[in-house]
């Protein structure tokens, strides 16, 4: 019979003014498992914690029950204090008899006293049946791996290298730079794209810590936080790299609007990318131009705004307008998206250059007129309520960014998820760059369409997040918690009882369970690095072989029995 030391905290009258402590003392004295009971004025002050810790060690108590205030007020201070004084975490139980009892039932002291007795009994039962889950710690491979050498990938690589860490970059194409290589100037500062890229590319080529693997195609990704192994082929040679973390910066791809606005059917209807290529080659002829925004975006198939198409149109429209003699430029739009002060100023400049903006509605899009090449565009001007005909030599369609084709496959290999549109999804709105798998980060357009400078910021942010992992030589599984502080434990399988039905594998939101063949039957095994002790696997396990030791079903059953 475990001997339990119980501390009842008076909280200077806050608790025992409602709850009758003598009644509790009488009740607890009849419980054989309670070895000693002490009523104290407070438990959250430094001196109280030392006194309590001394008494616990003195009486060699198996378990300690603290009946005081809730974890969210000062209960956790007491618990953490005791842990600091050397009392193991699993030996301590906390019962909230202040917020949860004396304060909330202030006017019913008899009911509150009975509730306090029951809560303490539940606490004792919980302590008696609570078990400790194992923990493992893993040596961390100090190197980093970045997939994709676009602006985000390069920024991440350079900032990681700056902290002295070895970095490998896997790039699908043969040269770094991503989409920046395809455009002439970037918004909002109109800086030349190649000038922007140049310092990063030089760093990648010169810095010995960074190795670039061009034309690489990933075969498989194994391992967990701190120890990833990536098999890939680069320039025809198979290769494999170990790394502590992975930063996914695979970017996105342009949407080709085949079938929209007669694109591909008649000449002179081009996309922004083709316009950018003409700027790069310097071979644009400054004729009349009409920009059409939200081509294939903010509609049923892709119900999202791709953030960058409006600023790109403003950039290119301004560039055209600045030519001598500047051609007439129209932008047909469904609302110009230019958030922030720089882009607002950008929008004002375009206006001042004489670019004309016409608003149209999604239901009545502009129509391209002309036989083999475009000669005019008909558009219903929603603001003035009239249909206008605009002669033009060139129509430029602004199309959104869409996820790469192999996002889902890569997500499957990485063990992370893609959101409903196909971009890699973050685990929780307040942890934007982290994913379901600790140690795998997402940044740049792979996560959501962004401009190049935003992509670079996210790259550096992801790098700094990664450093917090790579700097530790060892990582304990219990520290990889989705909640502040340590995890509450890990799931544990009883191999004799497990029937191998696979329910837990399907139910686990973190893919921490997988089935292994043992003789002629399957057994589920828990990967503690991934398991977050959320317990989704416990109710779906038909015979209770999957349990969280700190919250096992016997403990819950006993607590329910003593609840009233």
């Amino acid at each position: 019979m475990a001997n339990i030391v119980v501390f009842l905290c008076r909280c200077f009258g806050e608790i025992d003014n409602t709850i009758d402590f003598d009644f509790l003392r009488k009740e607890l004295s009849r419980d054989p498992s309670v070895s000693s009971l002490s009523i104290v004025d407070s438990l959250c002050l430094e001196t109280d914690i030392e006194k309590a810790a001394f008494q616990i060690k003195e009486t060699h108590a198996d378990k300690v029950l603290i009946a005081a205030c809730s974890t969210l007020s000062r209960g956790n201070l007491t618990v953490d204090g005791l842990i600091k004084e050397g009392v193991e975490r699993h030996k301590i139980g906390l019962v909230d008899i202040r917020e949860g009892c004396s304060w909330i039932h202030g006017n019913d002291s008899e009911g509150a006293t009975k509730k306090a007795k029951d809560l303490i009994n539940m606490g004792i039962a919980a302590l008696q049946h609570k078990e400790v889950s194992e923990d493992i710690s893993v040596t961390v491979n100090p190197d980093a791996l970045i997939i994709g050498a676009g602006p985000a990938g390069l920024a991440a690589a350079t900032s990681l290298a700056k902290t002295g860490l070895k970095v490998n970059i896997l790039e699908r194409t043969n040269a770094p730079g991503g989409m920046l290589r395809l455009i002439s100037r970037c918004y909002p500062d109109n800086e030349d794209a190649s000038d922007k890229l140049e310092p990063y590319i030089r760093e990648v080529e010169t810095n010995p810590l960074i190795t670039l693997h061009p034309q690489s195609k990933i075969a498989s990704i194994e391992g967990d936080t701190g120890n990833f192994t990536v098999q890939f082929s680069s320039q025809g040679k198979d290769n494999s790299i170990q790394s502590g973390i992975i930063i996914v910066a695979t970017g996105a791809k342009i949407f080709f609007p085949t079938g929209l606005y007669r694109y591909g059917e008649i000449r002179n209807v081009i996309t922004q990318m083709e316009l950018e290529r003409q700027f790069l080659k310097g071979s644009f002829d400054a004729g009349k131009t009409v920009f059409i925004q939200c081509t294939g975006a903010r509609n049923k198939e892709r119900p999202y705004c791709s953030t960058i198409c409006c600023p790109i149109s403003l950039k290119n429209a301004t560039r055209l307008a600045e030519e001598e003699p500047g051609p007439e430029v129209f932008i047909l739009h469904r609302g110009i998206m230019t958030p922030g002060n720089t882009l607002e100023k950008y929008y004002r400049d375009t206006l001042s250059k004489g670019v004309q903006f016409i608003r149209f509605e999604e239901e009545r899009p502009p129509r391209i007129m002309g036989d083999d090449h475009v000669d005019h565009v008909e558009v219903y001007d929603a603001v003035n309520g009239i249909t206008r005909k605009i002669e033009t030599d060139l129509v430029v369609l602004s199309t959104p960014l869409v996820p790469n084709n192999d996002n889902a496959r890569l997500a499957q290999m990485l063990g992370i998820e893609v959101d409903r549109y196909g971009f890699f999804s973050e685990i929780y709105p307040m942890h934007p760059l982290e994913t379901k798998m600790d140690g795998i980060f997402i940044c740049g357009s792979a996560r959501w369409p962004v401009s190049s400078d935003q992509a670079m910021t996210q790259g550096e942010a992801a790098a700094m997040k990664a450093v917090s992992y790579l700097r530790q030589s060892e990582i304990a599984a219990s520290t990889l918690s989705r909640v502040p502080g340590l995890k509450s434990g890990h799931a544990r399988v009883d191999p004799d009882f497990c029937t191998g039905c696979g329910n837990c594998v399907a139910a686990c939101p973190f893919d921490a369970c997988h089935l292994e063949k043992l003789g002629d039957r399957y057994i589920s095994t828990v990967n503690m690095m991934r398991c977050k002790a959320c317990g989704s696997c416990v109710p779906v396990c038909p015979n209770g072989s999957m349990q969280i030791p700190e919250h096992n079903y016997r403990m819950v059953g006993e607590m329910i029995k003593r609840a009233f």
Binding site: S70, G111, A563
Partner: protein
């Protein structure tokens, strides 16, 4: 029926915060409910709920996080689906699904917690007791 008895499974990251806030606000509620903190609403087993109902507890409430707001990558959605099926079973046998209350994302604030628990008390007070269904042979210790 005399004062009904309620067991509350409160998720540590929202339900418990609501209960704690209600406590700090000194909102007075009948002393006939007990709270068992759980890591996530997904951890609550239907067997525990049925054990509670069989043990003479009149109502069980599960307070979880918003849909999409669960820290454990939407673990609470499996809980919602399971509770709906359990409601079906309780309706089938006539025990009545109103003995089971699950609120996802509506117990963060103190006034919300108070409102939920008060309504649940009123609702249960109307129901007939479950004694024919208690463990028939023994006095439950």
């Amino acid at each position: 029926m005399n004062e009904p008895r309620i067991l509350v499974f409160a998720c540590r990251w929202c339900g418990l915060i609501g209960a704690d806030a209600a406590g700090k606000k000194r909102i007075s509620l009948p002393a006939r409910f007990r709270v068992i903190p759980v890591e996530c609403a997904a951890l609550v087993e239907t067997d525990a709920i049925l054990r509670a109902l069989a043990g003479g507890i009149d109502g069980v409430a599960i307070l979880g996080c918003h849909i999409g707001g669960c820290r454990y990558n939407n673990a609470n959605q499996t809980a919602i689906k399971r509770m709906e099926l359990l409601k079906d079973l309780l309706d089938t046998t006539g025990i009545g699904s109103n003995r089971l209350l699950f609120s996802f994302g509506t117990a963060h604030e103190d006034y919300q917690f108070e409102e939920i628990i008060k309504n649940f008390f009123d609702e249960l007070a109307v129901l007939s007791p479950l004694d024919p269904w208690l463990a028939p042979f023994g006095v439950i210790s």
